[in-house]
Subunit: 354 residues, 2 copies
């Protein structure tokens, strides 16, 4: 039953994700047909090389639904009814749209998907054929999905350069509640407390609070749709968070150090289970701090000197504390290479901090 | 009454912060006397050039108490009783130690302080005379503090290269509850939920959850002391957070989109009030994404090409998504310079994403 992905691919919704999929399919030589409620978006995406406007008689092999969460179910149902194509989507929740089409004729041709990319940019102009390179892309078949339909979606994921992660729709929604929606909501609660703060209190802000709150800058209209669409999984976890918050409040209120420490230790354990770069197990990393004068050439010189040390820099953070005449740059490297890097940078005249 | 800071400076506690203050004072030519419960720490700090061991007849002009939060009050009281020096400390909470010495003879010679530096490293070997360069350093006089004592502490802050922020002890504690302790606790709650997650769910982790949870990796023993020492201010804010969490739970549970959106919008507003680099008002920034092959020389080449574009890179993030053959590097630059940087990098052959 399995057949190769040969096109045409129809893409409904030419925002960042839809247009990027179009670009990746065109790069592979497939015929791509673009649909959008806004004809201007179709023209823009088409002008970028993501595909062409629809023509009479188009019979897509695969339909990719890339519309906002609120419209997913309706557009998926329409696509299933409108032909015999395999239908997938890129929505950030998976059980609600499935429930809306379950039992309908053709539902065996529907296989949900969710590429983990692109949430901070939007619109076709932000699109790129490489947006999905190496990113996780959840594929969420349901019990009645055709095997051939699943395989066609797997071909799309491979063509986009992404790494497939197979989950049931229910598992997917619980996974993103935990790794994305609940972290977003709690970052929002921290940031919300800052909005009410006196200005001189905010002068004590360091890199920690900046990191915790960064995602909270995301579009409220989009995130309220995403969270509302994953209400059950989000509520289950928020209930756990509230219980643990109550435990923290009780521990702080009664001076129960052991109770507080237990919660903090579970947090430390949680930071250690996030997968490492390239999906491998977390490797022991160490940070090396270097003072860098705050003008453009110095950071490049530091990186170039690090290269000369033959140590791979896994991550970089630039310290943004107010009033610094020199910046403090944190280089994250494998623990076993840290001393070598420090010695090498020091021999080149850099001021390091261990 | 005011007199210049001429030393000797006595430092009690030769961990990261105490030893770094010693190094900064020695750099300025002051006589520094080091005390620690561990004679080995004194030898280490002294070997690093942070000062000398005590000698009979030492009469410090200024005592800096740099011991763990649990011992602050007792050591400050001892230092006030033990001579006529001005006494300051570097503890991360300010009202509890003050309450413990209020009303004692000599309390007018005590002026609290808190440099915002160093929480992720520890021990004298991590010390640096430049640790405080441009960092905020809270100075927290109480109503009965001598003006001359406050001025002496201001001289210490200036000598360390830090930026003074004057707050009452109560304001300070409320400020760090908001900008540090509560963000830490909520990051801990997010991370704690990850510890219990199935491994295949964690495969969907992106940069967002990494950022939110990074601070939660901090030492539970230290943070339980810090939070317990600032219980009142932390509890007041945690109560607000619980109320807002209940509002989120109610909004998600009843499908109240407007309520959810209100909370998300307050979060966005909060991310905008964090002061910008160098203490100025937040400037409009924009992120530029560039695909970078994952081997050492490429990142340095990118930075070097950015320098050639004459655009100052305000921040860098390296995308760590699992399985990526190329890394995605995010360069944060002033909004008005972003297009110029993109064009310049593209002309040098880089693949960019807008």
């Amino acid at each position: 039953m399995s057949e190769p992905l040969a096109g045409p691919v129809a893409i409904i919704g030419t925002g960042l994700v839809g247009t990027s999929i179009g670009l990746a399919c065109r790069r592979a030589g497939l015929d791509v047909v673009l649909h959008d409620a806004s004809p201007e978006h179709v023209r823009t995406a088409s002008g970028l090389g993501a595909g062409r406007a629809p023509a009479p008689g188009d019979r897509p092999q695969l339909v990719v639904v890339a519309v906002p969460p609120d419209h997913l179910a309706e557009v998926i149902a329409g696509a299933l009814a409108d032909g015999d194509a395999v239908v997938t989507d890129v929505g950030s929740v998976k059980t609600a749209p499935l429930a809306a089409v379950a039992g309908r004729p053709g539902v065996e041709r529907y296989v949900g998907g969710h590429p983990m990319a692109g949430s901070e940019r939007s619109g076709p102009l932000a699109a790129s054929s490489t947006l999905f390179d190496g990113r996780p892309w959840a594929i969420t078949p349901h019990p009645t999905s055709d095997v051939a339909a699943v395989e066609l979606v797997e071909e799309l994921v491979a063509l986009c350069g992404a790494t497939p992660v197979w989950l049931t729709p229910e598992e997917h929604d619980r996974a993103v509640a935990r790794t994305s929606h609940v972290p977003h909501l709690l970052a929002t609660l921290v940031a919300g407390r800052l909005a009410a703060a006196p200005e001189n209190h905010l002068a004590l802000s360091g890199q920690g609070v900046r990191d915790v709150t960064r995602v909270a800058a995301g579009d409220p209209a989009l995130y309220s749709q995403i969270v509302a669409g994953n209400a059950d999984a989000v509520l289950a976890l928020l209930g756990e968070v509230r219980d643990e918050l109550d435990a923290v409040i009780a521990a702080v209120g009664t001076g129960d150090r052991d109770g507080l420490r237990d919660v903090l230790e579970r947090g430390v354990a949680g930071t250690r289970v996030i997968p490492g770069k390239h999906g491998g197990p977390p490797r022991p990393m160490r940070s090396v701090w270097v003072s860098v004068p705050d003008h453009p050439g110095e950071l490049a010189r530091l990186l170039s000197d690090s290269v000369a040390s033959e140590v791979n820099i896994e991550d970089i953070r630039i310290d943004h504390d107010p009033g610094r005449p020199v910046g403090l740059v944190e280089l994250v490297v494998e623990e076993r290479r840290a001393e070598h890097l420090l010695a090498s940078l020091e021999s080149r005249g850099w001021v390091t901090h261990r």
